[in-house]
């Protein structure tokens, strides 16, 4: 029988201080029983002598200092897993939310996991075709990568993420795949959008969902992504599946973390976020990857909304330092009516170089990608100049680049929500656009490829 304490001394925000405890350890899971029999869960944040500081996941409202009973369970937070979790919907703490039966666990896993030994990692290099040109052609994604979508409120990041989840495949392979979806503090409608999309396409059978909605306890969000990644690790590294993990929205997660930090009166870092935000975020993001000798992989697609579209805000900023690139969704392109509104210039996939080229996509991919970037950047500069001085001030060459930039946005970036372009189609589209430019300007492409791929140029 576990010892029960009725020695709560303080309750402040989501935190509780329990006195006269014995044998309590750091990060231990606790149960708090309210007089009505309601049970809430908590975690030990600090032990100091006989005092334990407990963070209550479901929030402290309604807890009475004298009436609450606390039990320390002698273990960390665990997630019961088995193959039956596929197709199920859980809440943010891993309890079934879909009125389905309890999971009969194959095993119970600590949700904090352990860091993957860098020596055991296998470098991600398998090209994932998402069918979205702005990603496949310009910011190629590979299996085992963590590639977040940096977005803003009111932008179609959910539609883009759902499209990627629908279309993503590795060419020439038939392998087991699964989607793990973790919602942190998003609205019912947003969550419902994903769930109904998974239903419509049948993906729900291969999906595990952890849902913490905007009106669910905020502190629970700290556990939600860890639940999801624990499930993903089980599926990937024990059941040999290729798992795509969608985490949305990391901004709400970081805010929950800030709430705890503020309640503990810690010295804040930038914008009130705790100094350990980087380390904490990395303990989520770094759980993506591949491991030598294991068949499965974890690819992460976290979504975060940048407050005021500001990329230097601590959440996107620190994320960008950990993740392997970022896909930036732009309000300007969205206003122009372009879907998906991916701003390719500040977007980046750090692992693209290992996933493209002969045998993976096509030999000309790297050169054309660099050339498209350089040409689009120059075209946009020319357009800015024209906006100040008028079109007439541009040189002939710059006019061509300016036209190229427009065509690039409307033909290459823009595509249908159900349009699944093959990598060949994407690359050929790039070459079609090159024919708008003088050949001497194609400095980043090898001659041999120009001969081979450039469509015959019209004389003008």
């Amino acid at each position: 029988m576990l010892k029960e304490y009725k020695t709560v001394a303080e309750i402040a925000g989501p935190l509780m201080l329990v006195e006269n405890v014995e044998g309590v350890s750091y990060k231990e899971l606790t149960e708090i029983e309210l007089p009505g029999g309601e049970i809430r869960r908590g975690q030990v944040l600090e032990v100091n002598g006989d005092k334990a500081l407990v963070q209550v996941f479901e929030g402290s409202s309604g807890i009475n200092i004298r009436a609450a009973k606390i039990r320390f369970l002698g273990k960390g937070i665990e997630l019961p897993v088995s193959l039956d979790i596929l197709g199920r919907v859980f809440d943010g703490m891993g309890r079934p939310r879909d009125k389905g039966p309890k999971i009969i666990p194959d095993k119970r896993l600590d949700i904090n996991g352990f860091p993957i030994n860098p020596y055991a990692r296998d470098y991600p290099s398998e090209f994932i075709q998402t069918g979205v040109s702005a990603i496949d052609g310009m910011n190629t994604m590979v299996r085992g990568q963590k590639l977040p979508i940096f977005s803003g409120s009111g932008l179609p990041h959910s539609r883009l993420a759902a499209q990627i989840a629908r279309q993503a495949k590795v060419l020439g392979t038939e392998t087991k795949f699964a989607v793990v979806f973790a919602a942190m503090g998003i609205t019912f409608e947003e969550a419902e959008y994903f769930i109904s999309d998974f239903r419509r396409t049948g993906a729900i059978e291969r999906a595990v969902l952890f849902i913490n909605l905007a009106d669910d306890p905020a502190i629970e969000r700290i556990a939600t992504p860890r639940m999801a990644l624990t499930a993903a690790e089980y599926l990937a590294f024990e059941q040999d599946m290729h798992v795509l993990v969608i985490l949305t929205d990391l901004t709400n997660y970081a805010e929950a973390l800030r709430e705890i930090s503020a309640a503990r009166k810690e010295v804040p870092g930038r914008r009130g976020y705790p100094g350990y935000l980087y380390t904490d975020l990395s303990s989520i993001y770094e759980r993506a990857g591949r491991i030598k000798g294991r068949k499965g992989s974890i690819t992460q697609l976290p979504i975060l909304t940048m407050p005021e579209d500001d990329k230097t805000h601590p959440i996107p900023d620190l994320s960008g330092y950990i993740t392997e690139g970022q896909i930036i969704v732009s309000r300007d392109l969205h206003r122009k009516g372009i879907y998906p509104p991916i701003d390719v210039l500040p977007s980046l996939s750090r692992l693209k170089d290992k996933g493209i080229g002969a045998g993976k996509t096509r030999e000309d991919h790297a050169d054309t990608m660099n050339q498209l970037y350089a040409a689009y950047a120059r075209g946009k500069e020319a357009k800015e100049l024209a906006a100040i001085l008028g079109e007439a001030a541009l040189t002939e060459v710059d006019k061509k680049f300016s036209k190229f930039a427009d065509e690039f946005e409307f033909r290459y970036i823009q595509q249908g929500e159900e349009e699944d372009r093959t990598i060949e189609e994407t690359l050929n589209l790039g070459w079609e656009l090159f024919s708008l430019l003088p050949r001497a300007e194609l400095k980043r492409v090898r001659d041999a490829y120009i001969e081979k791929y450039l469509p015959a140029q019209k004389e003008d």
Binding site: E46, G49, N117, P118, Y119, T279, S283, D317
Partner: protein, 594 residues
């Protein structure tokens, strides 16, 4: 010595009582799992301990054992080609012991105790030796001859015995008779990481560290024994630049510290370096490299230690008389680890929550670089070059870590996000970066490449400066307002940017450019400029500048970067073409006049 007891656990910080015997920075073992920790504060009999491993599950009452020694690294054969964590546990050994995840309380000695190395003595019985003298050598890898030295603390003495043959690192390879008695010397030495290894004398650096990266070698060189920093926002190419340096810098030993960064990046180095060939010897680059990996999700206290572990290993190779290059990516993560521990100790914070001693810690670290006369009677010279990446939040260079770093380092490579968006790599801003070593190393470069090189470099930089000024005018009034001469300046500056500074690290030829090729490339660009200038200055007013800029030879100049080092002869032909094509064009213009 009595054992301590834990009374408080807060993240990586543990407070224990009954620690009266403890000294600052002693290593301790926490709980029966034996987690490694280090004492960072003592109050009465209470000691605050930063624990290098995950502390979940620890609670009051658990024991703390003092080892009585500070955090030290093991130095000896077996360092090269290894990958260690922040406290020098070999990650491959951990992997063999516990599998794919790094769990807790794993004990793994840094250097293999079983492996035998062929030791060849350099001294004989009766020789007089002092601290730092080389007793013999071990061919550790095809690229590195490991010199076994008399440890710094051993007094001068006479060689009583020296052995030859196959030994493990703990076998005695020599006996010295010293005033303090007979000293047994093994190939293994230990050294506390927070203390720099001693040397006889420090000297100013004057030889450039050739990196094969054009913008660095030509405009912002770092000297062997110097310090440099690369601050930049994410995605601007810090890590790629650091990797390029680790690959191509002409150092004899490279120590690469992945401090709080991505796991996949270390895997990349581990998989790529054995494949890449050293441009000089043709041997795999891994055979001169030591890796320290403490990724961002590994415990934060060990991240703080990783920087010191790395630099102590680097100093050890410097002591042997090598030129060592150390890359630390990223020092900001190390500073953040300091901040986190400082916060948990409830110290009064300085700027942005960083501890007040941040500046002095940064300075102490970079000051361990330098060109030195080492211990030992042969006055060997060694050099330790330190290059630190800095990750300023939001790319804002006014933040404390960047500022503390800039106060101490001599070379500043300023990464620029707008260049990165244009995929101009390396995205180093040529107007903001600087190198304070240029003066020191110019005599060396004059010797190597001749006086003309210095002139060309100055002219190149002047053109880039002029471009920046002219572009402001263009932005206001358009390109038509510029004279032909100014438009040529713009065009040449563009050529320097695109054909010289832009360098593709993933292209098999472009990734490395020798100094001689850099010279030839710059010469081509400037030759075109000078020839074109002659035509423009002759005042042929109706000369079509567009035509001049579109001469076919310009494409050949642009492609010079892809000409392999062994075919540089091809470039002579480009020189002739420049003269010929411009003369032809000028001739056309002349005929039209007539």
């Amino acid at each position: 010595m009595g054992d301590g007891r834990i009374i408080k656990v807060s993240g990586p910080l543990v407070v224990a009582e009954n620690m009266g015997d403890a000294r600052m920075y002693d290593m301790v073992r926490v709980s029966d799992e034996g987690l490694l920790g280090e004492i960072i504060e003592i109050r009465g009999d209470r000691a605050s301990i930063q624990v290098y491993e995950e502390t979940g599950g620890l609670g009051p009452g658990a024991p703390v054992y003092n080892t009585g020694a500070p955090l030290s690294v093991e130095l000896g054969p077996g360092l090269i080609e290894a990958i260690f964590d922040g406290v020098q546990r070999p990650l491959d050994v951990i992997w063999k012991k516990v599998g794919d995840y790094i769990t807790r309380g794993i004990e793994a000695v840094a250097l293999d105790r079983e492996r035998k190395w062929a030791f060849v003595p350099r001294v004989k019985k009766g020789d007089l030796v002092q601290a730092g003298d080389v007793l013999g050598t071990v061919q550790e890898t095809t690229l590195v001859e490991h010199r076994i030295m008399v440890p710094p603390a051993v007094p001068s003495g006479k060689v009583a015995e020296v052995f030859s043959g196959e030994f493990t690192v703990t076998d005695v390879i020599a006996r010295l008779e010293t005033p303090n008695g007979v000293v047994d010397v093994t190939m293994l030495q230990k050294w506390p990481v927070r203390k720099g290894r001693p040397y006889k004398e420090k000297m100013g650096p004057y030889i450039p560290l050739i990196t094969g990266q054009r913008i660095l070698d030509t405009f912002f060189p770092v000297a062997k024994g110097g310090t440099a920093c690369i601050p930049g926002p994410f995605g601007s190419g810090k890590t790629v630049t650091q990797h390029q340096l680790a690959k191509w810098a002409d150092a004899e030993i490279v120590v690469y510290i992945g401090c709080g960064e991505r796991g996949n990046e270390m895997t990349d180095v581990l998989m790529e370096f054995p494949e890449l060939k050293d441009p000089k010897s043709g041997e795999p680059l891994m055979k001169r490299t030591v890796l320290i990996a403490n990724t961002s999700n590994m415990p934060v206290a060990a991240r703080e230690a990783s920087i010191y572990t790395g630099i102590t290993i680097a100093e050890y190779f410097r002591d042997m008389g090598y030129s060592v290059a150390l890359m630390a990516d990223s020092t900001s993560r190390w500073a953040e680890a300091l901040r986190e521990m400082s916060g948990r100790l409830e110290e009064m914070p300085g700027e942005e929550g960083y501890p007040a001693y941040l500046g002095s810690r940064v300075a102490e670290f970079y000051e361990r670089a330098g060109r030195t006369i080492n211990l030992g009677s042969d006055n060997r010279e060694g050099a330790l070059t330190v290059v630190g990446a800095v990750s300023p939040p939001g790319g804002d260079l006014s933040e404390p870590v960047t500022q503390a770093t800039l106060r101490i380092v001599k070379v500043f490579w300023s990464l620029d996000a707008s260049l990165a968006y244009r995929r101009h790599f390396p995205a180093i801003n040529w107007l903001l970066s600087y190198s304070l070593y240029q003066e020191n190393i110019d005599p060396y470069l004059r010797e190597l490449l001749g006086d003309k090189w210095i002139e060309m470099r100055r002219e190149g930089m002047r053109l880039l400066q002029e471009e920046a000024e002219l572009e402001e005018i263009v932005r206001l009034v358009g390109v038509d307002a510029l004279s032909a001469r100014e438009r040529l300046t713009l065009e040449t500056a563009k050529s320097i940017r695109e054909d010289f500074l832009h360098q593709n690290s993933f292209h098999e030829v472009d990734t490395y450019t020798s100094m001689h090729k850099q010279y030839r490339m710059m010469e081509l660009i400037l030759n075109f400029h000078h020839e074109a200038l002659k035509v423009v200055e002759k005042g042929e007013l109706d000369l079509d500048l567009e035509k001049l800029f579109a001469l076919p030879v310009r494409e050949r100049i642009a492609r010079a970067k892809y000409v392999p080092e062994e075919n540089l002869g091809e470039l002579d032909d480009v020189d002739n073409e420049i003269k010929k094509q411009i003369a032809e064009l000028s001739g056309e213009g002349g005929e039209a006049d007539a």
